[in-house]
């Protein structure tokens, strides 16, 4: 199983000091966080994509390319890549290039985005969100698998005799996840292609995740990619961990109370019981994370959100130390013991990555 972190890339004031980092600081901090993830033995770093303040990651492959050059083993991914408003041709080119630079340590997650105006800013119509996701991905899928593509669709100009370069590394396209909170069409899309399905699983009650994963698994089997249990599932998660539970709660509470997503609403305790948010000791985080398996089955990737709500860099790096030392090693062992032999341990890795591991 793969463990990692995903970032939204928000620039948020630290509510305990009132200080807001600059965009420059936030970008450099993001790199420091990714490097730390590799250092503590995590497997994956994923960045969001946004095109409005207060978010900095508008250019994911620039960021990931830089991190690729400074890491050896970390898989670089996205959370998510906007399949609705990016030109699928540019996605094909950018991520194939990244794949070459990172020697195959790349996969990506498709999403539709959650900011209405991004659609018109990029010349699209939000009411066409699902059709855009379906058509654009159909083209991307083709561009990575066929050397010469003829294409005509509803949303972009036609292509005649087009070749997307560079070709995927060793002819193997990056693995793709499809992320959605509650659109069955996207679970169906992931199942159809035999791609991975990633449930956001933060900020929302587990019922959404449970329902979507169940649907994805059934349809994955329906399309003949394997048994429902063999479908490739990833989950988000949100944790804040300290040696003592009380310290974790005391330190995280001001960040929670002022967070852009849920701040000034429910209490930390209510939100922790209604959503997968876990604030507590390493043991509490381990137990809660293991419990996810009870409603999604054995899954292949767990990404934690650890760097939002104005948490200072130093705190985030400490979080990664605790995750790497005390939480993830236990989770790896426990999940591996529970997983049947015929269920894949991870999403498919690029052959170049597998070869390096075996060397």
């Amino acid at each position: 199983m793969q463990f990692g972190i995903f970032t939204v890339g928000d620039v948020t004031a630290d509510p305990t000091t009132g200080r807001t980092p600059s965009e420059h600081e936030r970008i450099k901090n993001t790199v420091a966080i990714a490097l730390k993830a590799e250092e503590v033995g995590l497997d994956v770093f994923a960045t969001g994509e946004h095109h409005n303040p207060p978010f900095v990651p508008s250019s994911p492959t620039t960021l990931l390319g830089h991190i690729a050059a400074r890491t050896e083993n970390l898989v670089l991914s996205t959370s998510t890549t906007l399949i609705t408003t990016n030109d699928p041709v540019k996605i094909a080119e950018d991520y194939a290039t990244l794949q070459h630079l990172a020697d195959g340590r790349v996969d990506l997650m498709m999403g539709r985005g959650n900011t209405g105006p991004v659609y018109p800013w990029f010349g699209q119509d939000i009411r066409q969100g699902i059709p855009l996701a379906i058509e654009n991905y159909a083209l991307l899928h083709k561009l990575w698998r066929e050397d010469v593509v003829d294409w005509e669709g509803k949303f972009r100009s036609a292509l005649q005799g087009f070749t997307s370069t560079p070709r995927p590394l060793d002819g193997v396209p990056p693995f793709v996840w499809h992320g959605s909170i509650r659109s069955p069409e996207i679970a169906e899309q992931a199942a159809y292609y035999g791609d991975g399905f990633f449930a956001n699983h933060i900020f929302w009650p587990k019922q959404h995740t449970e329902k979507m994963v169940r649907l994805y698994r059934q349809r994955y089997a329906h399309y003949g990619h394997g048994t429902p249990e063999q479908a490739i599932v990833g989950l988000g998660g949100q944790v804040f961990v300290r040696k003592n539970s009380q310290d974790a709660v005391r330190e995280f509470r001001p960040h929670f109370d002022n967070a852009p997503v849920y701040g000034h609403g429910p209490s930390l305790e209510e939100f922790s019981s209604q959503t997968p948010l876990t604030v507590g000791s390493p043991q509490e985080v381990i137990e809660r994370t293991l419990s996810f398996r009870e409603y999604v089955g054995d899954y292949q990737r767990q990404l934690f959100l650890v760097d939002h709500a104005g948490l200072p860099l130093k705190t985030v790096l400490e979080q990664l130390d605790i995750l790497g030392e005390e939480v993830v090693p236990v989770l790896r062992k426990e999940f591996a013991n529970l997983r049947p032999a015929d269920v894949p341990a991870t999403a498919p890795l690029h052959p170049a990555v597998t070869a390096k591991k075996e060397a």
Binding site: I134, P184, E188, K211, L215, G263, H264, G265, P266
Partner: protein, 210 residues
């Protein structure tokens, strides 16, 4: 014959509340009329006051608490909904609107709805037609032709030679609403599974990509 489910939504804030009182009277009138037609009726009254904090939290988090989700599910699954709001600042109360803001815009399509409002003076009675009726028209609910407004004075007077008193208006509204509920319920077939998947081939075909 199956039991018809009616839900009354009262946005009254005080206890006892004249809004709740009107809701109960409308329920009673409807129930009486349906009983005459030999329908079994199950009624639940939802007081929004108890959900006010959960409603506010739903706006902040984007999802309902367990109690609020249950309340919304009851309203959207009902065979008929009786809604009564106090008039606040020339319209339905913010709490009343906030609750319906959290109901999926298609979830009440075709559902019979009886409208009621209460206020200090009869001068606000058109709130039924300039605020409540458009709200439920947007939701494509079937509103009963008669809606009932009760001013404070209505609770202590009968009608006069020109106007019917509150009890007559309640009875007429209940009769109309009961007829609507019975007609719609009789035509309701087995409920369709809202979560049914659109097969991917169909999604591609819609884009002419098959």
């Amino acid at each position: 014959m199956r039991t018809l489910k009616l839900v009354a939504v009262s946005a009254g804030l005080s206890s006892p509340s004249s809004t709740r009182l009107l809701a109960d009277r409308l329920v009673q009138a409807t129930r009486y009329r349906l009983a005459e037609q030999e329908y079994a009726v199950d009624v639940e009254v939802l007081e929004l006051r108890g959900l006010a904090v959960d409603i506010a939290k739903n706006f902040v988090t984007g999802f309902p608490s367990e109690a609020l989700r249950e309340a919304i599910d009851k309203v959207t699954a009902a065979d008929g909904v009786i809604t009564v709001t106090p008039v606040f600042t020339a319209s339905y109360s913010g709490l009343f609107k906030s609750f319906f803001d959290l109901v999926d815009p298609t979830a009440l399509t075709g559902t019979p709805v009886l409208l009621g409002a209460t206020g200090g003076t009869a001068r606000h009675s058109l709130v039924l037609d300039h605020a409540l009726r458009p709200l439920f028209a947007y939701l494509r609910a079937r509103t009963a032709p008669t809606a009932v407004y009760a001013a404070s004075e209505d609770w202590g007077t009968g009608g006069d030679e020109y106007t019917e008193g509150l009890p007559h208006r309640i009875t007429r509204a209940g009769e109309e609403f009961a007829t609507l509920v019975a007609a719609v319920a009789d035509r309701k077939g087995d409920s369709v599974d809202a979560d049914e998947v659109v097969p991917f081939a169909k999604q591609l075909a819609d884009l002419r990509l098959d």
